[in-house]
């Protein structure tokens, strides 16, 4: 019989501050979204490098909401290309990266698809796959792991 781990899960609000240290993003406001399977990150100028054995990606992003002047240049390993259906029901082929995320005291690798979310309010969505082992979500609260004024 498999051993069932019953560890206590950390409660997150529906909005949380997240760090993505490997991408050079210290603080990004994420929407914690149990309606989404995969996490997503807003990205533009996405360039795939296939020269080496390992496929990598360079992209730029605006980590601050409502601010398109501050740009971070990021680099990550590509896992695969995947078809994703967005909240409007549109199917889209997206690049998937894996990167370390720090949420409160928890550090974990997460998969994220890269998408142009510039028209949407949140530059990052934290979906079910990233949530399910470590977190539960309180839809009534926000910023439980770090106060909002710490940005």
């Amino acid at each position: 019989m498999p051993v069932k781990k019953n560890k206590t899960k950390t409660v997150l609000g529906w909005r949380e501050w997240v760090s993505l240290p490997e991408l050079g993003i210290e603080n990004i406001k994420a929407k914690v979204d149990t309606g989404a399977r995969t996490s997503a990150l807003h990205a533009f100028d996405v360039k795939i490098n296939e020269a080496n054995e390992k496929r990598t990606v360079d992209f730029k992003m605006h980590p601050l909401q409502d601010n398109v002047d501050y740009v971070v240049e990021c680099h990550a390993d590509v896992i695969e290309e995947r078809d994703v259906t967005d909240s409007g029901g549109h199917r889209e082929r997206r690049w998937v990266i894996e990167t370390m995320a720090v949420i409160g005291d928890t550090k974990l690798p997460i998969e994220m698809t890269l998408t142009d979310r510039d028209t949407m309010k949140f530059r990052m969505l934290l979906g079910r796959t990233a949530l399910k082992s470590n977190f539960i979500v309180d839809p009534d609260k926000s910023y439980l792991t770090r106060p909002d004024d710490e940005s």
């Binding site: 149990t34 309606g35 029901g89 309180d138 839809p139």
Partner: protein, 163 residues
């Protein structure tokens, strides 16, 4: 002065313990659950979505009409066993939703009773064409707050059992 401070401290402690007990009363739900809607009860599968402000439902053949000086809407909801109910409600309001490609969409909003576990609430629900989506009903934060905690590793953990 000292006494005043002590009272303040006591008040703060009391407040802290009250909010603790509120937290303890939250029901855990999975990200996918069976809920019942519309009082007489059609059981349908709903996606529990902390990313959505409000709830929305797939309304088949929605018809807007006038009754007693106000606008009503009549539509059909079908579950996966092909049981269906007709819902006939006054229109609460019409709302504009921002779509991903920057466009705007007008949606009809009604008030609907939704039962998840033992908790029944009347909330605003947007009528949408969700025919190309997997789940007919999407339950957002206005229903879930402050009664539920959502566990993304769980599904079908509650049965609708409202009075």
């Amino acid at each position: 002065m000292f006494r005043c401070n002590r009272q303040f401290m006591f008040g703060a402690l009391l407040l802290a313990s009250v909010s603790q007990s509120v937290l303890a009363n939250q029901t855990k739900t999975g990200w996918l659950e069976e809920v019942s809607i519309g009082g007489i009860g059609l059981t349908i599968e709903a996606k529990i979505d902390t990313g959505a402000d409000n709830s929305s439902i797939n309304a088949e053949n929605p018809t807007l009409y006038q009754k007693d000086g106000r606008q009503w809407v009549k539509f059909t909801v079908q579950n996966k066993n092909e049981h269906e109910i007709v819902i006939d409600k006054p229109v609460t309001k019409k709302t504009k939703i921002k779509t991903k490609n920057g466009g705007r969409q007008e949606r009809v909003v009604i008030e609907l009773d939704i039962c998840l576990g033992v908790i029944k609430k009347r909330v605003m629900v947007n009528l949408v064409d969700r025919s190309h989506f997997k789940y007919q009903l999407l339950i957002g934060r206005s229903f879930l707050s402050p009664d539920f905690l959502v566990d993304s590793s769980n599904t079908f953990s509650l049965k609708p059992q409202c009075q």
